[in-house]
């Protein structure tokens, strides 16, 4: 067990260069953004003088290197700066908005896994059959649609025409209030508060955007499930299991699927990253108050601190998710020695 702890430590250390790279890239990227935030924020009628004042106040008159070191030292103290756009500390903004994005992403991912994994398994047990082809066509169609297009069409059909879905106004309908803040996930918080009405309301709001996202994630998950199931089913240990007369269920789940789940898990990390990206568009379509929406607005306003904070937190989130997946893998797969 201490060996495993050591390996976890090693894995954590391995993330360090990535994190350094991420900090540099996010800084460089945001400084390359066009537009002079000083001009933008000095206001509609500002003159040269007031622009210069703002520039100084924002520290934009210093050299890039200087700005970078100020940025890093602030970062080390947990200070992501103030969002010029909203006037609130970026960290605070991100922390209030992150649960919204995560709730959406995880629901979308969950939905996709629930649909794609059985589809992939079905396809893998009947390779080359029409079911296999149908699955492939279906999931590929899902990933071929631009998410915003899917989202808008779903709104048009299910909200505007049919009236089945609630108004696409973010996490809760206008007349509901968010449940008391515990985790920030409305579904969980409302359950904790024992408020089933709010739970259903939040769930109803989630359905369309989560489905839009999930549709996008079907293909990679189903593809990976199919491929790894195929290789597991064709493996020698499955042949052994069959030769020993183990039941179909046992062979399929305990022997084939558990092995196939390992590469699948790694894929899920990638898919999660995809979804975080696609989230930006979906949030815009569904007025979802997550960090994606925040980022688009910040980007348009060249809001350095906000864009930086967003890019940084997204990348760190990805690193953390992958780390967790790796740790999970070590728990499931005895062979993974995290040395590489």
């Amino acid at each position: 067990m201490p060996d495993q702890l050591l390996q976890i430590g090693r894995r954590l250390l391995q993330a360090v260069p990535s994190v350094i790279g991420i900090v540099i890239i996010s800084f460089a990227l945001t400084r390359a953004l066009p537009g002079d935030p000083a001009v933008y924020f000095a206001g509609a009628m500002a003159d040269e003088e007031s622009i210069a004042e703002v520039r100084q106040a924002l520290g934009l008159d210093r050299s890039l290197v200087e700005q970078f070191f100020i940025y890093v030292s602030n970062l080390l103290q947990g200070d992501l700066g103030l969002s010029l756009n909203t006037g609130l500390p970026v960290l605070e903004e991100l922390l209030t908005r992150l649960p919204a994005s995560l709730e959406l992403t995880f629901t979308g991912l969950g939905l996709a896994v629930l649909i794609a994994v059985p589809l992939g398994m079905l396809a893998a047990t009947r390779p080359g059959s029409w079911i296999d082809h149908l699955c492939r066509v279906l999931v590929t169609a899902g990933v071929s649609l631009p998410t915003f297009f899917t989202g808008l069409f779903l709104i048009y059909i299910f909200y505007f025409l049919l009236g089945w879905a609630p108004s696409p106004l973010g996490r809760l309908d206008i007349l509901y209030l968010p449940p008391p803040h515990v985790t920030g996930f409305y579904l969980i918080d409302s359950l904790l508060a024992g408020d089933s009405e709010t739970f259903w309301a939040a769930l109803r709001q989630l359905v369309l955007p989560a489905f839009t996202l999930g549709l996008f994630a079907l293909a990679p998950i189903a593809r990976m499930t199919r491929a790894s199931m195929l290789s597991a089913l064709g493996s020698e240990y499955v042949r052994t299991a069959r030769a020993n007369g183990l039941s179909h269920r046992k062979v399929l789940f305990t022997y084939a699927f558990r092995n196939a789940a390992l590469p699948l898990l790694t894929t899920l990390g990638m898919v999660f990253s995809f979804l975080l990206g696609a989230n930006v568009l979906v949030e815009k379509v569904f007025a979802w108050p997550g960090i994606g929406l925040f980022a688009i607005e910040a980007l348009v306003a060249s809001d350095y601190a906000a864009v930086q904070g967003f890019v940084l937190s997204m990348a760190l989130l990805f690193v953390v998710v992958n780390l967790m997946i790796d740790l999970l893998l070590t728990l499931i797969d005895p062979r993974v020695s995290m040395s590489d």
């Binding site: 790279g21 890239i25 990933v143 071929s144 930006v280 688009i296």
Partner: protein
């Protein structure tokens, strides 16, 4: 050649979906090549009096808010979209696979640096990074291509690294060393060509992504500049007209876009089988 055709037909006969995808692919290529001659109207000519006409016999796909013929625009856009996808993928393929094979082949130093670099790029959600790059560099077709290429780099690097790594100690690589080939030559002639089949799938998937990526950028206002017709920007603009009932503005370019992405996504497996020498007899 005859052998290749036989092989082609065998790969096709194995998989009806691939046949469909390949026919679609050919159709797209033809449209891209001959689009300007196929379009019944000038795709850029406005006719304000004739704006927002629903599909009719004159305008199969209707007209847009400036009275331009949507059908013509959809047709003509094929070339630009294919161009974006191809050049972005080509760029990331060449650079990414070169870096990846170098990392996989030599390992050590090279591997660690390239590995960290691609890890870092991969850590950013792809669309977010593309968004940042395009807004930093400005939204032109070239920059969209660069951004798409950059975000796809790590995929090629990873695949190439893994494939090279498996092969770097293969018997035929040893044999090539014994034949007096230099490392670089071995990499280029012995190792790399054999990494191609699994990369074909990546290429075709990335072609689809490239188009989707451009469309997404258009949606948040960072896409191709007007008046050029491009599917993504047409969908993005048309999307705002869906609620007001002018569905044809988004639907037709959306369908074209979907078909193209769909086709690229499906064609990968077929391409891999086609390129793989082991599948020939």
């Amino acid at each position: 050649m005859k052998r290749f055709l036989n092989h082609f037909f065998y790969v096709m006969s194995e998989n009806p979906v691939t046949v469909f995808a390949f026919s679609l692919f050919i159709l797209i290529i033809l449209t891209a090549l001959f689009g300007p001659w196929l379009a019944p109207y000038d795709p850029l000519a406005t006719q304000a009096a004739n704006a927002l006409q629903p599909p009719s016999l004159q305008h199969w796909f209707g007209t847009d808010h400036l009275g331009r013929d949507v059908f013509s625009r959809v047709i003509v856009a094929t070339r630009l979209d294919l161009g974006i996808a191809l050049s972005a993928v080509a760029l990331s393929f060449f650079i990414g696979s070169a870096l990846g094979s170098a990392a996989g082949f030599w390992g050590g130093w090279t591997d660690r640096i390239i590995g960290r670099l691609s890890d870092t790029i991969m850590a950013f959600p792809l669309f977010v990074l593309a968004m940042g790059i395009v807004s930093a560099l400005g939204n032109s077709v070239e920059n969209i291509i660069y951004a798409t290429a950059i975000i796809n780099l790590p995929f090629y690097a990873r695949v190439a690294r893994a494939e090279t790594n498996v092969r770097r100690n293969a018997g035929y690589v040893m044999a090539a060393r014994l034949s007096g080939s230099s490392d670089l030559r071995i990499l280029a002639t012995q190792v790399f060509p054999n990494c191609l089949p699994p990369m074909m799938v990546q290429i075709s998937l990335n072609m689809g992504w490239a188009i989707l990526n451009a469309a997404g950028l258009s949606f948040i206002g960072l896409g191709v500049r007007p008046p050029d017709a491009e599917w993504g920007i047409m969908v993005a603009e048309g999307a705002t007209y869906i609620v007001s009932g002018e569905w044809w503005l988004a639907l037709f370019p959306g369908a074209a876009l979907m078909l193209a992405v769909f086709c690229f996504n499906l064609i990968g497996d077929g391409l891999r089988d086609l390129v793989d020498p082991l599948r020939r007899t």
